[in-house]
């Protein structure tokens, strides 16, 4: 399989993630969208690592995974806080401040 196939798949995944982030009203759904985006990144990194013939990209992907895990933990904590203060995890409920 050529590298471009993986990159195309990665781009498609990334776009799906962006679509999810933009359209989901549920904060958890937005988090899943972000997850799709970072998975696209990991796929890119690993495919490009193979294309370049060294392991740097794979190491990068491991770091990226760890970052994503930490980020999701913080995100879920904030969503929980939102639930406690607003009794809802819909992003539309957090619109008190605007203008």
């Amino acid at each position: 399989m050529p590298t471009s196939a993986y990159l195309l798949l990665g781009a498609a995944l990334f776009c799906m993630g962006v679509f999810g982030v933009l359209t989901r009203r549920n904060a958890i759904g937005v988090l899943i969208g972000v997850e799709l985006m970072t998975n696209a990144v990991n796929l890119n990194l690993i495919a490009l690592s193979r294309a370049n013939g060294h392991l740097t990209g794979q190491a990068f992907a491991l770091f990226s995974l760890a970052l994503t895990v930490a980020e999701v933990i913080v995100g879920l904590a904030i969503v929980l806080l939102l639930y406690r203060s607003h009794r809802s995890v819909l992003t539309d409920s957090a619109v008190e401040m605007k203008g």
Partner: protein
């Protein structure tokens, strides 16, 4: 083993901060929580703020005593004079943040003060690592280390659990947290997480094309549309985080909802760290190939300045006004970066723009932090009798000069500095940036920025007019806690002092940029 030790020595400041963070966690575990409502009654946890400040002060002293060694850790981190300058800037910002937070934390989340300072330290470690990072992987990791604690800190609000007598209710759902900090945290987090993913995607393409994560190797990447996409996505991701238009929508909301002393930190240090990181990627990686990134960044700078100024114009809420005006200030800082980029692309690197940028950071740190802390002092002094709709509003400052002339003078100095009036530090900051851009042949950009600064004058001076000409609702002076008083005094003195004598700072910035490795 020896290599390890020398690596640790080169990374002295981040290592010391890590040790300080661990000690702070330990102190937090050892100190019990006692006391009643509002953390009154000699809560031992209040000592954590003092410990955090002393630790930061100690690290700052070490930083001032140890000049740049010029040594590298592997090929990914360098301890040059540029890094050292930024370290000192971030440590100063950290100390101001602890001073600003001390009274606020004691009163609003007495039980959780230690966590807050621990998170602040984690963010500072990220910033100090970012300052010297010359490798994409390290930049991404350090950037996230800086950013993630900020999401949590933004969501810190007053909860019922803290003000109740005795231990807090153990159940997750018993205490109801404040709504606005939760909203502020969510907005900052969602923007941060999405922007991190966008940046990572851009970076993954840059890595694939150049075959290396080191910035110097990025120049080897062959020109292709994919390279342009990678650079554009990296800039877009950073734009989200730095609040550059058109990705600045989250800034006023987050600033309004988050605790004010935290906002005073968020609005300067992380932005400076992010902007310098973006600058190192673009200048070291693509300095000779300005055509890839200069048009994009130019468009971002223009849109950011226009949007920031126009959105700040109608604001009556002080924190929202400062948020939008901060967006405009970021646009001006990018001009400094563009000036260097244009000169480097023409084959005659002239670091005047970078010097102006460093000078701008210091001036902006003093003025913006000072102003937010005045807002915090006013908010903290409010009683139940005050009308809730004046909280954090320009109207709430009305007649401040007759209540507390010192506080009003400090706020006035900061406002003049942000507006760029001679002879306060902000004037020189703007002037140096404009001169650098003019010399790089960007005359129209300078004229546009100067015209927009006139709009800025209007909304900054509207705040000053309210303080000096408005009628106070009460004649009582504003009670300011001592820690906040020190912080406001330091920022006001720095704003005025550096405005009258910008020479030493100019020299420091010159020395810092002279050692910038890789230009």
């Amino acid at each position: 083993m020896n290599e390890w030790l020398s690596g640790l020595q080169t990374l002295l400041i981040p290592v010391l901060l890590t040790a300080a963070l661990l000690l702070l966690i330990l102190a937090d575990l050892l100190l019990p929580f006692r006391g009643g409502k509002d953390g009154s009654g000699g809560n031992p946890k209040n000592a954590l703020g003092v410990i955090a400040f002393l630790q930061l002060a100690a690290v700052a002293v070490v930083s001032w005593l140890s000049p740049a060694s010029g040594l590298w850790v592997g090929k990914s981190w360098v301890d040059d004079s540029w890094t050292v300058f930024l370290h000192r800037l971030f440590l100063t910002a950290g100390m101001l943040a602890v001073l600003g937070m001390y009274a606020h934390g004691k009163k609003n989340f007495a039980r959780r003060q230690g966590e807050f300072y621990t998170l602040l330290f984690a963010s500072l470690i990220g910033m100090t690592l970012l300052a010297g990072a010359r490798d994409l992987l390290l930049i991404v990791v350090a950037f996230e280390l800086m950013g993630m604690p900020l999401y949590i800190m933004a969501a810190y609000g007053k909860t019922d659990g803290d003000s109740a007598q005795g231990p807090a209710a153990p159940g997750l759902l018993r205490a109801t947290p404040a709504r606005r900090p939760a909203e502020a945290g969510l907005k900052l987090y969602l923007v941060g997480a999405v922007s991190a993913a966008i940046t990572l995607y851009g970076v993954s393409l840059l890595y694939g094309l150049s075959g290396s994560t080191q910035l110097v190797d990025l120049a080897k990447a062959p020109s292709s549309p994919l390279l342009f996409v990678g650079v554009a996505m990296t800039i877009a991701g950073f734009s989200f985080k730095l609040g550059l238009a058109p990705f600045q929508f989250w800034i006023p909301d987050t600033y309004q909802g988050a605790p004010t002393p935290f906002v005073s930190f968020l609005s300067v240090a992380p932005k400076a760290a992010g902007l310098t990181a973006l600058g190192t990627i673009l200048l070291i990686g693509f300095g000779q190939r300005g055509d890839i990134w200069i048009p994009t960044l130019l468009a971002v700078a223009v849109v950011t300045m226009v949007a920031g100024n126009l959105l700040a114009l109608p604001q009556l809420h002080l924190k929202r006004l400062l948020g939008n005006s901060g967006v405009a200030q970021m646009g001006t800082m990018i001009i400094g970066l563009l000036a260097v980029g244009v000169q480097t692309a023409h084959g005659q690197p002239d670091p005047a723009g970078l010097r102006a940028l460093l000078f701008y950071f210091v001036g902006y740190l003093a003025a913006n932090t000072g102003l937010f802390l005045v807002v915090e002092a006013l908010a903290a002094s409010r009683t139940a009798n005050d009308a809730p709709e004046t909280r954090d509003m320009i109207a709430g400052l009305s007649g401040l000069n007759r209540r507390s002339p010192g506080l009003a003078l400090a706020a006035l100095l900061c406002l003049l500095s942000l507006a760029g009036i001679p002879f306060v530090v902000g004037f020189w900051a703007k002037l140096y940036v404009f001169v650098a851009a003019w010399q790089a042949g960007q005359a129209w950009l300078v004229i546009l920025a100067a015209a927009l600064a006139v709009i800025g004058l209007f909304y900054y001076l509207r705040v000053a007019r309210s303080m000096y000409l408005g009628e106070p609702t009460t004649e009582a002076p504003v009670p300011v806690p001592w820690s906040l008083k020190i912080a406001i005094l330091v920022t006001a003195l720095a704003t005025a002092g550096l405005g009258l004598m910008p020479g030493p700072l100019v020299e420091a910035a010159r020395a810092a940029v002279a050692g910038f490795t890789g230009l």
